[in-house]
Amino acid sequence: MEFITDILLLSDSTLRISAPLILAALAGLCAERAGIVDIGLEGKMLAAAFGAAAAAAVSGSPWVGLFAGIMVSVILALLHGYVSIHQRGNQIVSGMAINIMVAGLAPTLANAWFSLGGQTPLLDNEARFTAIDLPFAKSLEGVPMVGALYSDLLSGHSLLTYLAFAMVPLVAWILYKTRFGLRLRAVGENPEAVDTAGISVTLLRYQAMVIAGVLCGMSGSALSTALGAGFIRDMSAGKGFLALAAMIFGRWKPVPTLLACLLFAFVDALQGRLQGVSFPLIGEIPVQFTIMLPYVITVVILAGFAGKMDAPRASGIPYEKDR
């Protein structure tokens, strides 16, 4: 019985942890499918986390926080777009610049505004996205199996977690079932073909950056106003890169990317459960090693399975009309 409880708890944390990953990975997916490498996911996430926490702290509303988080992230995405699309700059450099800038700027601003040593004030529950009970969750609690699955596992997550999962079919639908999606995918593969078909490459790529900005903004807001209760220095902790890895492992496709995010989130949850647990023969694994686990697995997976073959062909290459 304890084993089943363990599994349930582990699955529950997996879902919770996966939300910001899924949103960020989808953001990266939209950008790269349009031909722009977005290594600045990490920075945008962190900036959005700060923006959301600060706005929520001041206004007392998580919705104001979410809006602020999205705005901050969209602005950074457009900055990246300007460098990549208009200036034909190096997209890796631009993305890294955003990461480094935000890592320094967010705690500095937090310190200037709240004087809490680079954090935002602890948010009370009214200013956060708290757990939502799904309909009938309470009444089904006692039912064997169903109760455990529905009431314990599926119910009781924040709105942003449910949104994250809802975004997967939405993004997939846009990409594969709409004219906009067709053009977006085309511009990431062969912008010249799009251009000669009379469609603006520039506009399409900016649109993709806005979508990426919105998704990444939601991801960052989830970090600080749903999973956490405020902004802490470096709270994204490499999740943006993890999301990028999940997107690559998911071969730039929404559903496989979701599965990759769940895998990474599961390892992260497992890592949390393993801390302080004593194993036969080995004994207790030092916490430094358990924390390493998700990152080690990322490296192994990317080195072993991820192919370059599936990447959008024009990804990372600025479009110049007449070469």
């Binding site: 999606g181 067709l182 085309a186 593969e189 073909a193 078909a197 009379g198 469609i199």
Partner: protein, 521 residues
Amino acid sequence: MHVAPAIETRDLCKRFGDVKANDNVSLVVDQGSVHGIVGENGAGKSTLLKMLFGFYQPNSGDLIVNGEHISLGSPAEAMAAGIAMVHQHFMLVEPFTVLENIVLGAEGQGLLKQAEIDAKAKLKGLEQQFGFDLPFDQPVSQLSVGERQRVEILKALFRGADTLILDEPTAVLTPQECDQLFELIKLLKSRGKTILFVTHKLHEIMAVTDSVTVIRAGRVIVRTDTASTSPEALAEAMVGSKISRSVTRADTDHGIPRLSVQNVSALSDHSHRALQNISFDLFDGEVLGVAGVAGNGQTELLEVLTGLRRVSDGFVSLSGEATNSKDVFTDPISLRRAGVGHVAEDRLKSGVVASMSARENAILGYHREADFCRGGLMRLSAIDQAANDYFENQDVRPRNPDLPVASFSGGNQQKLVIAREIARDPQTLIVGQPTRGVDIGAVTKIHDQITALRNAGKALLVVSADLDELMAISDRIAVLCDGKLVGIVPISEADERTIGLMMAGSAASSLVGSATEGQDQ
């Protein structure tokens, strides 16, 4: 009733800086006809095409489509006027299906499902009308080159094009695919479409066009009905006939060949047969010119001779004291050490690194040699000295080896490359397009240099698209057509007409004879 031409241009001009890419080009393409445009590489064909489908805007001149004066600001506007271009490099999204590629940009509505249903209905009609049979649900990446081309054509028809511009459509096709394309062109014509067919292969012009315009150096040389012209006349119009300068020639030493090519065959990048069973000898003290319409195996021959492409059959050997091994031809380094210099055909692609300084470029390919490099460290003063010497000897301007090669003019870049390649006094020099993209002033100097090397007893092989140039500097001219050596003509027996005919594929022996007979009449 008089029908206005599908496309007419009057005195169209397009300048890039000081270069006139198109100089008063007047073109008439009749409604429902197949009109050919021929010209050598760089003659201005692409510039003209790009103006016709709205990619470039002319500096002056008129564009008249179906009797109406219009200006085309973008490819989309050209499309609206019923003009579509089938690019040489296909504008297709490879992972997309055929259907997705066809509807891209012409979806008609926001949701794909309905757009594709509508498109399929429309395509059914087009398929029946023009005999297409394409797998709509297969990704384009799985199609053959010929099929991809038909997707491009169908794409244009789907958008309602009346005039199709085909830019060198056969360059990437196999002979069988070419035949299919020609069938399709005839069918399109019979259904009232107008086709502008651009090529530099003359037999294609003869095979499919009704009329033809020849362009040379940005100007229209001649416009004629195909029925009333011949490949020879077109070849002559294409390459032109300037006055050939007489060059003082020392005697060639026809002793042991310096370089011997024996039964060489090689494949192109597309795994087509680029060279077929080619044999010839190159002697000391001669310039062997290699002529041919572009894309008939010249590039591959140069690559074989400089160790950049493996032969699939036969061998190349080098005689002389340095080495007698045929293995050197698989390795550019040993080839250089064995005394074979190489002035690359495409300077910017394989002759220089444009963003690096002229000084660094001056030793490129020789940077491993002991006088420039010791223990992995570059000997900067020796490199500096060499660069200064090259600049001095060849009069490269501006005299500043620190500048990146990209900021020199084509002529000065070429002078630097030649200086580098002859600095080690190679016995053999393989030269591709010695004066392509070179300003007029430098051309004479480069020709003199080649002659001087020849008179110093070196063996030179020169591939050039410029027949006049070959006539001026060669001792013998070898002609390639379709990867085969049509023949080698001594300069004393060579004239534009003979070479032109050979470039079109007629064997040498019959030609030299018939040319003489022709004069007798």
